[in-house]
């Protein structure tokens, strides 16, 4: 079990109770998304994974270690955290320096070189290695931030809103980078508002509302509009399912497409399902 959260309570100074009894376990290699309105505790929860926040009550275990008794420096070698604003994490003169920064004290020169090269090529940053990170565009900066965290070879990758605030192209770039990291076998936890991303790639989604977990399961369950529970959860979390799911539900419910699944998540899935239906019955086509 990579991460275990037991009855976690957290109160910020000033008596703001951000987490109210959260129970969660994340296994090695999982691809999990944490969603929910701002202020529901998503980031607060995630900051417990690398020890930046310690529980007020309850405990958090990372690879069996109690985070209350382990320091951030040690936990950050197991759990890499990519902050939402890359400007907060970058401060070296070149991309190469940036990636090498945290490794300098821990590795030999050749090991360091290897790690840096590996990170540069995984994220496609070889062409930018001698540039100043601050001169890069936002999506590239995010990739650099991800590369620097990756180079520390953590087993868990936490990404705080990786695609927020980007245009279509930038979001795709970051999305692909996240998938590449997933393919190396890391455990990935993404905090996001991007439901399309969740629908397309995520295997498990955790919905947080008001400091508690309101849902913990697969996206196709969550976005299934034909289920009362799912609808209620989405309402509480003020989240809308992807339009594809809405469309498939509408067609199934009101449009007479009774054989159409109500929880199709992506345009590709939808088109597949529709094509199958069409081949099964007589249809008129324009």
């Amino acid at each position: 079990m990579m991460i275990e959260v037991e009855n976690l309570y957290f109160t910020y100074p000033g008596n703001v109770q951000a987490l109210k009894g959260v129970n969660l376990s994340i296994e090695e290699g999982e691809f999990v998304a944490i969603v929910g309105p701002n202020g529901s505790g998503k980031t607060t929860l995630a900051l417990h994974f690398n020890g930046l926040l310690k529980p007020t009550r309850g405990c958090v275990y990372v690879k069996g270690k109690d985070t209350r008794e382990t320091c951030v420096e040690e936990l950050s070698t197991v759990v890499g955290y990519v902050f939402q604003n890359p400007n907060h994490q970058l401060f070296n003169l070149t991309v190469r320096d940036e990636i090498a920064f945290a490794l300098k004290r821990r590795l030999t020169k050749s090991e360091l070189e290897e790690r840096v090269e590996d990170a540069l090529s995984l994220f496609g940053l070889k062409a930018f290695e001698d540039l100043n990170p601050f001169t890069l565009s936002l999506p590239l900066k995010k990739l650099v931030a991800m590369a620097t965290v990756y180079a520390m070879k953590p087993e868990v990758f936490v990404l705080d809103e990786p695609t927020t605030g980007q245009d279509f192209f930038g979001a795709k770039l970051v999305e692909n980078a996240v998938l590449k990291v997933r393919d190396t076998g890391k455990t990935i936890i993404v905090i996001t508002h991007d439901m399309k991303f969740v629908a397309r790639h995520v295997k498990r989604v955790i919905v947080m509302v008001d400091g508690e977990i309101a849902f913990n399961g697969e996206p196709c369950e969550l976005f299934d509009q034909s289920t009362q529970d799912a609808r209620k959860t989405l309402e509480r979390a003020k989240i809308k399912p992807p339009k594809t799911a809405l469309l498939s539900y509408m067609l199934m419910q009101d449009g007479g497409f009774k054989d159409l699944p109500a929880n199709l998540l992506t345009p590709e899935e939808f088109v597949e399902a529709l094509a199958k239906l069409r081949s099964k019955s007589v249809v008129k086509c324009l």
């Binding site: 690398n50 930046l52 951030v72 420096e73 950050s76 070698t77 890499g80 955290y81 902050f83 604003n85 400007n87 907060h88 994490q89 970058l90 401060f91 920064f101 945290a102 601050f134 620097t148 965290v149 520390m152």
Partner: protein
Amino acid sequence: MSLKGFYIQKDSWLHRLDPRTKMAYLVVSAAVVFIFFNPLAVLAVLFINLTLIFLAKTYVVLKGALAKILLITLVLNIVVHGFASPAGKTPVSLFNYTLWIPFFESLKWEGMYVGLVFGLRIVALGLSLLFFVSTTHPTDFLNSLRRLGLPVKYTLMLSISLQLIPEMLDESRIILNAQRARGVRLKNSVDKLKAIISTFIPLTISSLEKMNIISMSILARGYGAPVKPTEIRRLGLKPVDIIVIFLTFSMLALALYIRIFYGDLSLF
């Protein structure tokens, strides 16, 4: 977050004073601490400032980092001047033990005296400033500056800075956390210092971006339009203000009188 500066909203007669009155006090108290070279005189002003802060019920401002910085400055002044001041002659010995460091030799009484006066001046001034800032609504402050004739360009710059400073403080905290997550060690003071320095670049850049947006916003909201702005909060000198101004200037007059006829009251 737009918690502008350090203003604390309470309902005291000091809060209701016109900012110009408080500005006058600020200037006069600054003048008085520099007129005398005696820690007791400076302490008197310091004491008045503390009383004002307590009367205004904004003492929570004393818990902040600024108060700690003032205290550290005081101690530093005493120590540094104690060793290095050219006025120093008599070495400090307690129980036959003299504190001695190479090049600067021993700690000296006169130097410590100088340090004490300098340090206390800074603390007194800091308290005056804290009093002013914690009891003056920023909009009132800017409006009164405008009434005193300060061109819009400068009140605009001040407005922007007032907004920017709390932002920067918040941001630096987040940046430090982000760096810790990157494995930056914060175990000893050297590391802490390095970490703080490395936050300068991200902080400066984001501050510049913010400044850009803040100023565009303010101007796009008509600030500086060639018309007389409507004042939402009423400003005006009331009888209380006149009395306080009178007392303040009396204090100045008294100080000047003592200075002229009795010198700067130095004990050395």
